[in-house]
């Protein structure tokens, strides 16, 4: 067998594309049960950066996030229009194979959702779906994913223990390791720290910042300080009295937090909004 030294390469690393768009959202609207819920959102997610989506709860952030990896496909009442461009194809509609999409775009959820089974089984859930059986490779992949998720040292001696034995913060890092194991290019995170204690939160924030070296991250958060700490870009979404969510402002984190262009943004950052 021909062994090559392999490091997980993500596209973009080779070309060093720091300013390219990974995902371009343009004119995206979302309808639920024929009622418009999100209207005309447009912004671009740059490769290997952290883009935060902030805004009060209920303003469509999670819905937008889940549209990117098409988790709404299951729901017949959900309808999407507009464009979400990824790798040259529109994710709205059936042009992109959804299973391939989900390999390349991973997701970490709000509440840690470890599966029944051991830590080892959890991490390798994705790769095993593709029929990978090589034990040496799997062991290596498990260790490498857990290392990248800053969890390896804590669990290396108990990989066969049930994943539910871990603490909340550890479980969330396990979920991140699990997502990393399929070697995605983009990682979507839906309020990854909101169910965790402050110490775990900081650990995961550090982790997220580390991850941006190799992955493109889109993080939904309602914690503004967090967004300010970690993001390169920020999208502020808000739903007005008509209950339709819109993109209010998008830009570099440095400018949005220091000098927002929109009065609404300013109010939200100052904490004087609902």
């Amino acid at each position: 067998m021909d062994l090559q030294l392999a490091k997980v390469k993500t596209p973009g690393e080779e070309t060093g594309g720091a300013d390219r768009d990974a995902i371009t959202i343009s004119g995206f609207s979302f309808y639920y049960d024929n009622k418009k819920v999100i209207e005309d959102v447009s912004f671009a997610v740059k490769e290997r950066t952290i883009t935060s989506i902030i805004g009060p709860s209920g303003c469509g952030k999670t819905t937008l996030l889940k549209s990117i990896n098409r988790l709404h496909d299951e729901n017949p009442k959900a309808k999407m229009t507009g464009t979400i461009l990824f790798d040259g194809r529109n994710l709205v509609g059936k042009a992109f194979d959804v299973m391939l999409l989900r390999k390349r775009v991973g997701m970490v959820f709000q509440k840690p959702n470890v599966f029944p089974g051991s830590i080892y089984e959890n991490v390798l859930f994705g790769p095993k779906l593709y029929g990978v059986r090589d034990k040496e490779y799997l062991d290596w992949l498990c260790e490498s994913s857990l290392r990248k998720a800053a969890l390896w040292d804590e669990v290396k001696t108990k990989l066969t223990a049930p994943a539910t034995n871990l603490s909340g913060g550890q479980q969330q890092r396990l979920c991140i390791a699990r997502t990393l194991a399929v070697q995605p290019e983009v990682i979507l995170m839906d309020e990854p720290c909101s169910a965790l204690d402050p110490i775990s939160t900081l650990k995961i924030e550090d982790l997220i910042v580390e991850l941006k070296e190799r992955y493109t991250l889109v993080v939904v958060t309602h914690n503004m300080q967090q967004a300010a700490r970690i993001s390169s870009y920020v999208a502020f979404m808000y739903a007005g009295e008509d209950l339709i969510a819109r993109l209010v402002e998008f830009g570099r984190a440095s400018s949005i937090f220091v000098n927002p262009a929109n009065a609404l943004t300013e109010k939200y950052i100052a904490g004087t909004l609902g």
């Binding site: 062994l3 194979d97 299973m99 029929g131 990978v132």
Partner: protein
């Protein structure tokens, strides 16, 4: 560590995705078939039964009595017996069932007694119906000396459907929002007044649905009645609650157990009558359920 990164292979990923999507599609079709297979088979059975029995249903069949001669046999005594049974059973089981449910939901909630009752009901719901027949035989028929009468049968059948009514009524009472009780009590009403005038009317549709479903069950139950001695050959119509009797399902059993083809067809005819009643009750329950969920909306 030197390892070839298998997941880098676009071919591997693509091939895997194609294969697994196919498997998923096949499974989806198979499981859909499995879900409806029992319904389809049932439809076949019903169709077969209809064709065998429909020719035998006529006025004479419905008003005549069983006989050794298939052409003269009728189902009237069994029908009347079933009717008697249902009415008496309802009169006994409904008040008892609702009262128990009210006690469990409104009065006794946390007491040890209520918990014991709840455990008992839960167990009784799973006891095979023929055991109730044994109970009825020993207690109602012998000890209470009611003989093999409709009364003994109704008492026995009440015990069979009591858990059904209690559980359904409990669900109905649970679904009444707390605010209704609180509002009534804060206006000065007593507990009973609250239950009777505020909670019960709200829970009534759910309770009624449960009763109708229990009824549908009672009309088809055979084993407990055979055990208490309901006869399978009755040529007369019962006139009082202490008379011996038979019911439709027992008549069906009797005819079906006979080898002659005519009696098999008679059984089919009687089944049609029984199923008609059964479906009638179920339809009533479904309509009631729809009406109530419409109202809630």
């Amino acid at each position: 560590m030197e390892t070839k990164n298998l997941l880098d292979s676009h071919q591997l990923i693509q091939a895997s995705i194609e294969r697994r999507k196919k498997v998923d599609r096949v499974f989806s079709a198979c499981s859909r078939l499995a879900s409806v297979l029992s319904i389809i088979i049932l439809a076949f059975f019903l169709g077969g039964t209809m064709s065998k029995g429909i020719g035998w249903i006529n006025w004479q069949f419905l008003t005549g009595s069983p006989s050794r001669f298939a052409d003269e046999a009728g189902v009237f005594p069994a029908l009347v017996g079933s009717l008697w049974l249902i009415i008496l059973t309802l009169m006994i089981a409904v008040p008892l069932g609702i009262a128990t449910a009210i006690y469990l939901e409104e009065y006794g909630k946390r007491s040890r007694f209520a918990q014991l009752v709840a455990i008992n009901i839960s167990n009784l719901a799973g006891v095979p119906s023929i055991i109730y027949g044994i109970l009825g035989l020993a207690f109602f028929v012998r000890i209470l000396m009611l003989g093999r009468s409709i009364l003994a049968g109704s008492l026995t059948m009440s015990l069979v459907i009591l858990p059904v009514i209690i559980i359904a009524s409990q669900e109905a009472l649970k679904s009444v929002p707390k605010s209704i009780r609180e509002a009534s009590l804060s206006l000065g009403a007593t507990k009973w007044q609250t239950v009777r005038h505020a909670v019960l009317p709200s829970a009534l549709p759910g309770i009624l649905t449960g009763i109708i479903l229990a009824l549908a069950r009672a009309i088809g139950e055979t084993a407990p009645l055979i055990t208490i001695g309901a006869l399978s050959f009755i040529a007369f119509v019962p006139r009082g609650p202490l008379d011996p009797f038979t019911v439709l399902p027992i008549q069906i059993y009797n005819w079906a157990s006979r080898p002659q083809k005519e009696f098999q067809n008679l059984a089919a005819a009687a089944i049609i009558v029984l199923l008609f009643l059964f479906l009638l009750f179920n339809a009533l329950a479904i309509i009631l359920r729809h009406r109530t969920s419409e109202r809630i909306r």
